[in-house]
Amino acid sequence: MSGHTGPAVVFDQVFKAFGPNHVLRNVSFSVPAGEALCILGRSGTGKSVTLKLLMALIKPDQGSIWVDGDDITRLKPAGVSKARRKMGFLFQDAALFDSLTLYENLALPLRRLTQKTTAEIDFAVDDVLRHVGLAGDKDKFPSSLSGGMRKRAGLARALVLEPRVLLADEPSSGLDRITASEIDELLLRQKHDKGMTVLVVTHDVHGARRVGDQFAVLHKGNLIAHGTASEIESSGDETAQKLISEDYPA
C-alpha cells in the first residue's frame, strides 16, 4: 500500500490540444481516495482524453497530473510504468487482445509483471473472472463474446493487477439498460468492497448518478462544474444542470 494520504487523483491546470483543436483548457479537479468521480459532457469535449492523460497514454501540453502522490507528467518511462500499475483501464470497446483467449488476456499482465506461479495465475484469473460473472468463459476468444461480456472481460483485465484507481471509458455504451446496470454494479463493488478510486467517463446520467460521489462536467474543453449532484444542480450553470439531469438522453 502507498503511504500517500492526499487525493488519489489531481488534475492541475491541464491543457491539451491536438493541432488547432483545444481539447482541454486549464482543467483542474481532484478525486479523494476511495470515491467515484463521473465525468459527463457531450461527445468531443475531452472526456476520454482526460482518462488517457491520467493513464499517461498521451501527454498534456501544460499542467500536472498527480496519481497517488506521483506527478506522472514528470516521470521517466520506468516511473510511468510503475504509476500505471496503480491504475486499471476499462476501454470503451474493451480493447481485448483478439488473438488471445479470455484467460490469456488476463494472464498476460500477471505473467509479465508479477512473480506469481502458474497455479497462482490460474487462481487469480479464475477469481477475477468469477467476480465479473465470466467464470465459464475463460477459453473463449473476444470475438465470440457479446458486448456486455466484452465489457465485463475488459473490466476483469483492468482489475487483475489489483489497481488502486479504476478508469472506465463509457462502460455502459452500446449496452441495454439491464446489462449497463450490471456493469455499474460491478464498478460500485470496486469502490465499496475494495476501496478503489473510480473515474468513469459516461453519457449515461442514470448510471453516473448511481456510481458517482462527485461529478465533473466538461463543455467545449472547459470544466464548467465539479461537485456532488446537488451542488451542480444548484450551481446556476444551465449547461451543467442539463448534462446532469436524469432526463438528459444517454
Partner: protein, 253 residues
C-alpha cells in the same frame, strides 16, 4: 521532398529503436518464436511452390539458348548461380514483404485503431518491445531460411524441367549445379536477406504501429507496408550487391 526526408528520418529512428530494444532485457523469446513460425513456417506453402515454378520456367527459357551455343552442360550451373546469388534472396524477400509485411501492417494498425496497443501500455507493458521487436526479429531470422527453401525448390524445379527434356540424372545435375558455386556465392547473398528481413519488419511495423487514421488507416497501412518495403528491398539489393562485390571481388561475374 521534405516529406520524404521526414519519412526516412522517422523510419530510421523506428529502426534504431528496434535495435536498441532488441538487445535490452527482457527478451521476448516466446513472442519471437511465435512470429518466426508465422513469418517463416507459414510462408513455406508460398515460397516453395514459387521457387519450384520459377526454377522450372527459368530452365525452360534458358535451355534452348544455351543448347544453341553448345552450352547445355552449363544449365545446372546457371540455374544454381542465378538462384543462390540473386533470384532466391530477392524473390523470397518480395514474397515475404507481400505476405508477412501486409499482415504486420494490418494487424498492428488494427490493434492501434481498436486501442489494443493503448491497452498493452495501460498494463505497464512496453508495447513497442512486445509487438514490434519480435516481429522484426522474426523477419530477420525467417527470411534467410525461406531463401534456402526457395533456392533448393528452384533447383529442384529446374532439374525436373531438364529431366523432362534430356532425362539427365539427378546426381549429375546436382554435381554440375554446385561445380562452380563458391561459398561466397552462397553465404553472402543468403545473409543479405537478414537486411531485407529487417527492412520488411521495420517498415511494416512502422506503418501499422503509427497509424492514426481509424479504420481506413488499417488498409492503408497494409498497402504501404507492401509497397514501401518491396521497393526498399529492391533498392537495398542494389546496394548490397555492390557491397558483396566489393568484399568478394571474385564474385563479380
Amino acid at each position: 521532398m521534405s516529406n520524404l526526408i521526414e519519412f526516412v528520418g522517422r523510419v530510421s529512428s523506428f529502426g534504431f529503436r528496434v535495435i536498441g530494444d532488441g538487445v535490452r532485457m527482457p527478451f521476448e523469446g516466446a513472442q519471437i518464436l511465435n512470429h518466426i513460425i508465422e513469418a517463416g513456417y507459414k510462408s513455406l506453402p508460398l515460397v516453395v511452390p514459387a521457387g519450384f515454378a520459377l526454377g522450372t520456367v527459368m530452365t525452360l527459357h534458358t535451355r534452348n539458348t544455351l543448347m544453341t551455343f553448345g552450352a547445355g552442360a552449363m544449365i545446372p550451373t546457371v540455374q544454381a548461380l542465378a538462384f543462390f546469388v540473386e533470384i532466391g534472396p530477392l524473390v523470397a524477400g518480395l514474397l515475404l514483404a507481400g505476405r508477412v509485411g501486409s499482415g504486420i501492417g494490418a494487424v498492428l494498425a488494427n490493434m492501434r485503431v481498436t486501442e489494443q496497443i493503448d491497452a498493452i501500455e495501460s498494463l505497464s507493458i512496453d508495447s513497442f518491445k512486445f509487438l514490434v521487436v519480435p516481429r522484426v526479429l522474426a523477419c530477420v531470422v525467417a527470411l534467410p531460411l525461406l531463401t534456402l527453401f526457395m533456392d533448393f525448390a528452384g533447383l529442384l524445379g529446374g532439374y525436373l524441367a531438364e529431366y523432362s527434356s534430356s532425362g539427365a540424372s539427378f546426381s549429375l545435375y546436382i554435381r554440375r549445379a554446385f561445380a562452380d558455386l563458391q561459398w561466397a556465392n552462397f553465404v553472402a547473398p543468403t545473409l543479405k536477406t537478414t537486411v531485407f528481413g529487417f527492412i520488411i519488419g521495420t517498415v511494416s511495423s512502422y506503418f501499422g504501429f503509427t497509424t492514426n487514421m481509424g479504420a481506413a488507416g488499417v488498409g492503408r497501412a497494409a498497402t504501404n507496408s507492401v509497397v514501401v518495403s518491396s521497393l526498399l528491398v529492391i533498392l537495398a539489393d542494389v546496394i548490397l550487391v555492390k557491397c558483396i562485390f566489393f568484399a568478394f571481388p571474385e564474385n563479380a561475374l
